[in-house]
């Protein structure tokens, strides 16, 4: 119970911190919208571009939340938090936030592009938003600074947008599953279960990696007690 309370407090504090960053909040919404609007000329593919563009904003926010507070995090662990609680505190705040943005953004795309299966657009974009959180956490925990993290993020998501969905590279990239879901929403046929499972597997794997890296980054030695 006390662990859950600590997670909820961390979620609340990350919420307070991010909601005071008005420009960042604006960009969180504006970035995927810009991707979508800029690619409207390419027909249905604008929905895929916009959906995957969500990964930039949500994983960017996640990345920043972890890299901007390494010193505080270590002090919080010294004070009594477990590294996993710090990680889950971020997830508990970012997941609902990502969901809200995903729903709002999906609505815009469904109205603007009228995909064949709109519910699948919602599902695909939501999958992008949720997967972006463990992705941002894993990258943020693995790299030393914001610059390196941002470059990794641009590299991975950029590659996701640049390579064709049938290429071998695309199939090993983290957002391949959600990308498939969004593509499936544009026609009557197309896989659903496979991409969903792939997304879940990637999410769990990335969360596990983030847990490993965060534990190493904020490691605190618990000294033995004097007799």
């Amino acid at each position: 119970m006390s662990s859950l309370r600590r997670i909820l407090i961390m979620a609340e504090m990350h919420g307070r911190d991010l909601t005071r960053r008005h420009a960042a909040l604006g960009l969180l919404v504006a970035l995927p919208l810009a991707f979508y609007l800029a690619s409207r000329g390419s027909g249905d593919q604008s929905v895929v571009a916009g959906g995957v563009g969500m990964a930039f904003s949500v994983s960017g926010a996640t990345l920043f939340s972890i890299l901007s507070s390494t010193e505080v995090d270590q002090r919080l662990v010294l004070a009594g938090y477990r590294p996993l609680e710090l990680l889950l505190g971020r997830v508990f705040f970012l997941a609902p936030l990502g969901t809200v943005i995903a729903v709002a953004f999906s609505t815009v795309m469904v109205v603007g592009s009228q995909p064949t299966r709109p519910w699948l657009t919602f599902l695909g974009v939501e999958a992008v938003a949720l997967l972006s959180i463990p992705f941002g956490l894993a990258v943020g925990a693995a790299v030393p600074r914001e610059l390196e993290g941002t470059l990794v993020l641009i590299g991975v998501v950029g590659m996701e947008l640049a390579v064709g969905p049938d290429s071998a590279v695309a199939k090993v990239l983290p957002f391949y599953g959600p990308q498939q879901l969004i593509s499936s929403s544009l026609s009557e046929a197309g896989p659903i279960v496979g991409p969903l499972l792939l997304t879940a597997l990637y999410g769990l794997g990335l969360l596990f990696l983030a847990r490993l890296f965060v534990a190493r980054r904020v490691d605190v030695t618990r000294h033995a007690r004097t007799v």
Binding site: M13, D17, Q74, L76, L78, T221, H223, A224, T226, V227
Partner: protein, 219 residues
């Protein structure tokens, strides 16, 4: 290298023991078999030139940095106040108190009650609800110190905690060291302020290891 003799103390209870602590960064040895013993109800001032390893020793004692060799044992909860306040820029003092208090299983009301009490002792402007980014350096440092004290630790590791304090708060800080001594806490203060050394029970001077250059950074 022995950082300071274990002279014993009236309270007798040993709260912090660092034994043969060694730390190297690459080919540079920062600490070489350093010993440090601090008892309950004792204030120890830790001095030494830049690069002597004072901050490194404090971080090792706090558990934030791993020693290459040697061991540390502690009597109870550690309160650590770093030289540079590690705070969330867009959270207020109250937010920090609630967050750090929860780490010690204090509820929101108790965290704020205790935190405000400590901050008031250091003349923190409690009526201001500004985020820490907008606070002066000295005010941030007061919050930094309060977070170290919040869970009522038995060992206090304070790494130049008075940076940015005005004269009155600085004197007040050393008065508090005497209060903490009276409460039976083991207090280690990294300091360069020679004028106040007489207020410590013991002064330990760390010497820079010969492998360090004279222009080495403080670690």
């Amino acid at each position: 290298m022995v950082a300071g003799p274990d002279v014993g103390h009236a309270h007798g209870v040993t709260e912090l023991v660092a034994s043969k602590v060694t730390k190297r960064y690459g080919s540079t040895t920062v600490l070489d078999r350093v010993d440090l013993v601090v008892h309950a109800g004792e204030v120890v001032a830790l001095t030494g030139e830049n690069g002597a390893g004072k901050s490194t020793l404090m971080k090792i004692c706090a558990g934030l940095t791993r020693a290459d060799d040697g061991e540390v044992t502690v009597g109870g909860r550690i309160g650590y106040c770093p030289q540079i306040p590690g705070l969330f820029e867009l959270l207020t003092a109250d937010d920090h108190l609630v967050m750090f208090g929860r780490a010690a299983d204090l509820d929101r009301a108790e965290s704020l009650r205790r935190g405000h009490e400590i901050l008031a002792e250091f003349d923190y402007p409690l009526h201001e609800k500004r985020v820490t980014r907008d606070l002066s350096g000295g005010t941030r440092q007061k919050l930094n110190l309060a977070l170290a004290l919040l869970a009522d630790p038995s060992v206090l590791l304070l790494d130049e905690p008075y940076q940015g304090f005005d004269r009155g708060t600085y004197v007040n800080f050393w008065n508090h060291c005497e209060t903490w001594r009276g409460q039976g806490k083991a207090v280690v203060v990294v300091t360069h302020m020679l004028a106040e050394l007489e207020r410590a029970d013991r002064v330990i001077e760390l010497q820079a290891h010969p492998s360090r250059s004279a222009a080495g950074d403080e670690r």
